[in-house]
Subunit: 252 residues, 2 copies
Amino acid sequence: MEPAATVLDLNQLRRSCSSCALYELCLPAGIGGDDLDRLDATVKDKRTLERGAMLYRENDTFEALYVVRSGALKTFVQNEAGDMQILAFHLPGEILGFDALATNLHVSQAEALERSSICELPYAKLQQVTSEVPALHRQLMRVISREVVEEHRHLVMMGKQQAQEQLASFLHGLADRYQRLHRDGTALNLPMSRYDIANYLGLVVETVSRLFSRMEEMGVLEVNRKSVRILRPDLLAALCRTDTVSRRNDVG
Amino acid sequence: MEPAATVLDLNQLRRSCSSCALYELCLPAGIGGDDLDRLDATVKDKRTLERGAMLYRENDTFEALYVVRSGALKTFVQNEAGDMQILAFHLPGEILGFDALATNLHVSQAEALERSSICELPYAKLQQVTSEVPALHRQLMRVISREVVEEHRHLVMMGKQQAQEQLASFLHGLADRYQRLHRDGTALNLPMSRYDIANYLGLVVETVSRLFSRMEEMGVLEVNRKSVRILRPDLLAALCRTDTVSRRNDVG
DNA sequence: CGATCGGTTGAAACCAATCAACCTTTGTGG
DNA sequence: CCACAAAGGTTGATTGGTTTCAACCGATCG
């Protein structure tokens, strides 16, 4: 049975990796065969995190990059007073840990929002492979750059003056990411708490709660605790921007 | 006179690069001699931008990374409606252009806030050098990672619930960056407009203007148009956080 | 089952956005 | 060189959306 099991595992790996951020570290770069195997070999045994478990903390030494295989995580920073600011939510296929590249120490923290499975990419081994497979280097740069662009989206969201626009944009973006995972983009199952959403957007939890209710009244959403169904994607998209021309954002 | 001029130029180059983001692309990596020369050779002729001139626009093809030599720039994104969100202000020694690494197209725009001089690093040539000098690769990754961490600071700023905290944090951070440039960290000369500051922080210009006035009344600042003197750095630091324990940010 | 946590809703206070007026600086052209 | 226009900035009055404070509900968990 061993060969069959191996084939099965490989197939599953291929399948699960097809929606993975690492996918582009191989195929688009024209990598296959030995190179692909070599990259596969750098992926350490998967780790499983329970809800609330930390993947890394501030000041942890930089050991690896991580890819979410299943579940979801949040990354955040905390100041001396314990104030938290959530930087991102990470869904399956998304990569995290880049914050530590600069100093070799993590400057943020990563916590599982639910039971999650993580692929660990020890950076030392990854460096070795990328030095042997130059095409991988550019690919890795691309992935980091995507991280930068993703943060731009977060900044744009927070820059909106109306809380409703912020939440609409948040849900809209989440739906996009769900679809990219070949999930139903209209039936979101939010892994994060209302508190987390509020913090992510720079609001308080009551405001977020009220907005969910209001958007439900408007017929845009159907909210049931963590389960959010988007009834009117068109209206949701419209809510992402104010109709009135805002003086603040309008270009001079 | 030619040799003397060459020596002078080299010295000036060394001096101007000592406070440059690229500095760490050489020395800390233990690079010197030929390797350093090779890196220097990748720097294209400097460009000068007038106030309001664009360094790159959205959808421009990715040609190079840029380092501010003198002056200041802002990077921003614009949506279909023309709404702008400023992503960052770039002071001398700071690098920009990473947004295009992912897609080979710029997804943001860069505009000079005042007459600025720019070092251009053609990415093709840079790639060639980094492939020959592996140590440079890790250094370049470090620089991008710093970009990520810098954006985290922006997010934390925007996440603050009080506009005064946001502006205080902005000025505090700016003072830090001025000091890193060996400038006076208490005598800021803001290259950006009030409008830009407001947009960067997610506020409206009137609020920013009022806050400048209020902080002047409090004796924290001395404001004179673009010139801001920090009279009480201690008070400014205190204004960066609310005294009252906020429910939103406090960790659960 | 009680306690705790997460979430919702209401009422009130407050802060920032909005609208408006005005001032200063800058730049342009007669 | 002056006049005027345009842009940038400040200040006031008002509105309104979000925060704050509070109570309550439901789910989860030990």
